[in-house]
């Protein structure tokens, strides 16, 4: 059980600060935010209102000028981008607003066409493309209706059709399902998931709708203008499943496990590669996610494999706890995937989890160093 190799970076936010107002009234709303979103990921942003998630979304959507820091969308730096380039940039972004903002004078089809007209689609195909998208959101029989003759949910679906019709590389949505019933909401979420999977569309959703969370790859939580947590759901679940197999983590609550899992990094090693070498300074704790390794100890000029470690096994803790160099070499018998935890995080986790500490002491005792 492991993750597919990471896709290319779609959104890279680094050192992002933002202020509103001028002079005395100037107030910082975003504080040193960093975020990397990869292609095809669905990221849900949560946080109390006023936490800056909407501001972050508008900055990523090129709707606001960047003041400090940097945002790169598909490699393109947004800071200092001239307005005409911003306009072009936005054509590749699908916006789903909380208010649908449809043109009342136009039918559902014509509203969707307003987006199609921005592409190189031949003029004769506008209606066909618009209708196909309306069909995808379940409104094929309402194409000729004006917004005033549609229900709130239907209007929202027209707006979603307009946002998605050009298959944008990035979709930014603000409470997209708030006005929708359970089925319509599920339909929309399914559509977003499909776009993400089949077309590599990156989706960022600001929402409080817990029903959507199931499709998300990540949940980013913001408080007071800062990203306080960035949970890679799928990855975290994979790591948690592995950690749960480890004897030391067995007793831990899911939330504690999640905390640790989030701090772990995936690392890949080739066959016969050494993960740690005897004599090196210990700086990481490892859990094996896939593959098997040999533990090799050198004594009196001979090397011998003292043990074989496999999936769910862990190693490297002794050096961290005792502040000693590695006492053995760990070599891969085959390609190996491990999750590593830095010394700092490992020791912090030890301190905060009493049971973990006990278990570890026990373990050390039995292993005898």
């Amino acid at each position: 059980m492991s993750l597919p190799p990471p896709r290319e970076v779609a959104i890279q936010v680094s050192g992002l600060n933002h202020h509103f107002g001028k002079g005395e009234a100037r107030k910082q709303v975003l504080f040193d935010n960093n975020l990397v979103v990869r292609r095809g990921e669905i990221v849900i942003m949560t946080g109390p209102s006023g936490s800056g998630k909407t501001t972050l979304l508008t900055l990523i959507g090129t709707l606001r000028a960047i003041q400090e820091g940097s945002i790169r969308i598909n490699g393109q730096e947004l800071a200092g981008l001239p307005p005409p380039a911003q306009v072009l940039m936005r054509r590749d972004i699908g916006f789903i607003f909380q208010a649908h903002n449809l043109l009342n004078a136009l039918s559902a089809r014509q509203n969707v066409r307003m987006a199609v007209e921005l592409t190189a689609t031949p003029r004769g195909d506008y209606d066909r493309v618009a209708d196909a998208m309306l069909d995808a959101v379940g409104l094929s029989d309402r194409a000729a209706y004006k917004p005033r003759n549609l229900s709130g949910g239907q209007r929202q679906r027209v707006a979603i059709a307009r946002a998605l019709v050009n298959r944008p590389r990035l979709v930014l949505a603000d409470e997209p399902t708030a006005a929708l019933d359970k089925d319509s909401g599920a339909n929309v979420v399914h559509l977003l998931r499909e776009l993400a999977n089949n077309h590599g569309t990156t989706v960022m959703i600001v929402t409080h709708d817990s029903r959507i969370i199931s499709v998300a790859d990540r949940i980013v939580n913001m408080v007071d203008g800062q990203i306080v947590s960035d949970v890679r759901i799928k990855e975290t679940m994979v790591i948690c499943a592995i950690l749960r197999k480890c004897s030391v983590f067995k007793e831990m609550s899911p939330s504690d496990l999640t905390d640790i899992a989030q701090k772990m990094t995936e690392e890949h090693f080739a066959e016969n590669e050494d993960i740690v070498r005897a004599g090196d300074t210990g700086d990481k704790f490892y859990v094996i996610a896939r593959g098997t390794t040999n533990i090799i100890i050198e004594s009196a000029g001979t090397t011998r494999a003292v043990a074989k470690l496999g999936e769910g096994d862990f190693f490297g803790e002794v050096a961290l706890l005792r502040d000693q160099p590695r006492n053995a070499t760990v070599t891969c018998r085959e390609p190996v995937v491990v999750y590593s935890l830095s010394k700092e995080n490992f020791l912090a986790a030890m301190k905060s989890h009493k049971t973990f500490d006990d278990q570890m002491s026990n373990m050390l005792f039995t292993r005898g160093g």
Binding site: F95, N101, L106, V206
Partner: protein, 379 residues
């Protein structure tokens, strides 16, 4: 194609609320009618003011240098004309006498100001075909032609009617057509002999001298020769210049011209404000939608074109309604004031240009609001 699409979109936005659209067009039409009315009066005044000048049938017109316009009554001595006759190239130099006085309404005796025109019957040098038709009748003592287009206050006047002009008994032998202007309610015509029979008229005091240039002579050269002969005593104008002078006096110097000219500007200003209000509301109502169009990547020119097209549609619709109302009003005013109110195509075109101008100007102001539409506010 792009242009058509914006036009169609603008039309759909406006037509989406027909009630409001009609109201908006009425607002614009109101301004159009104001402009038509002011322009009508302005033209009515100028057209009427030059109505007599246009009938002067001479290559050159001789007037006193201090005469500002044909109604100011500044005269020059008759012997100047005799001197002008000796200038090489001059074929003919004849006086036309004019005098403002009162005509007694034959029905109720009320007195109204008319301009009395006196000229030679055989060579009147005036473009009144009626003079030739009534020449024999006009040779009779105290006979005159009456202006058929004079104001109704002057009474029902037909050939054979007798009344008093400047207190002097006169007999109307026929009618001619000229029409009133802002100075006079109408005109009358008579022979020089009969003119000089009126009280206080002397043959030496000439109002207008008309010169016919000999065939083959250059008019400008003759004018210079006359001016050289009498450099300070007279002003020599061409027929075109005298008409232009009359027009200028009315439109620029006389209060009426200024009033109606200002009225035209006021109409334009009112129209601009009305149109701005309409467009401003239109834009305000659609602001989130416009912001959304910006957000999804429509360039600013899309919105600019949209608003200006809306302005254009309003101006065209408003103009159509205003034109119909204006035509009706002209007919009514012409009937009421006897002023010439001609709705000629160039004048309609002028109002159309003004209307489009005011709507586009208003649109230009309303664009400021559109530019303020911030897509970042949508989230």
């Amino acid at each position: 194609m792009w242009f058509c699409r914006q036009f169609l979109l603008a039309w759909r936005l406006l037509a989406d609320r027909p009630g409001r659209f009609v109201l908006s067009m009425t607002g614009v039409a109101f301004a159009v009618v104001i402009m038509f009315t002011e322009l009508g009066f302005l033209n009515g005044v100028t057209d009427s003011s030059i109505n007599f000048a246009l009938r002067l049938d001479g290559d050159l017109v001789i007037v006193h240098p201090q005469q500002e316009h044909l109604k100011s009554g500044v005269e020059f001595p008759l012997f100047y004309l005799q001197q002008i006759r000796d200038v090489p190239g001059v074929a003919l130099a004849l006086p036309v006498y004019t005098s403002a006085n009162y005509w007694a309404n034959p029905q109720d005796g009320s007195r109204n100001r008319v301009l009395i025109i006196g000229a030679d019957l055989d060579q009147p040098m005036l473009r009144f075909p009626e003079i030739a038709a009534y020449r024999e009748e006009l040779r009779g003592t105290d006979t005159m032609l009456f202006d058929r287009r004079a104001r109704a206050e002057l009474g029902q006047v037909a050939p054979g009617v007798r009344s008093r002009l400047a207190g002097h008994p006169e007999r109307v032998v026929g009618l001619f057509a000229l029409g009133p202007n802002f100075a006079y309610e109408g005109h009358v015509f008579m022979s020089t002999r009969n003119f000089l029979r009126l009280p206080d008229q002397r043959p030496e005091d000439v109002d207008i001298g008309l010169v016919r240039v000999a065939p083959g002579e250059n008019i400008e050269a003759v004018r210079q020769r006359i001016q050289a002969r009498l450099p300070t005593q007279v002003t020599v104008l061409t027929a075109r210049e005298i008409a232009q002078r009359e027009r200028d006096v009315t439109t620029r110097k006389a209060p009426v011209g200024i009033v109606f000219g200002l009225g035209l500007i006021v109409g334009f200003a009112i129209g601009t404000v009305v149109c701005y209000q309409i467009l401003f509301n239109e834009v305000s109502d659609h602001l989130p939608q416009f912001a959304m169009l910006k957000a999804i990547g429509h360039p600013p020119r899309t919105l600019t074109a949209l608003v200006l097209h809306e302005a254009l549609i309003l101006s065209l619709g408003g103009f159509a309604v205003g034109l119909a109302a204006g035509a009706l009003l002209y007919a009514l005013l012409e009937h009421q004031t006897a002023l010439q109110m001609d709705l000629t195509p160039p004048r309609a075109l002028l109002v159309l240009v003004l209307t489009s101008g005011m709507c586009l100007l208003a649109g230009r102001f309303a664009l400021k609001k559109v530019q303020a539409a911030d897509p970042a506010d949508l989230f």
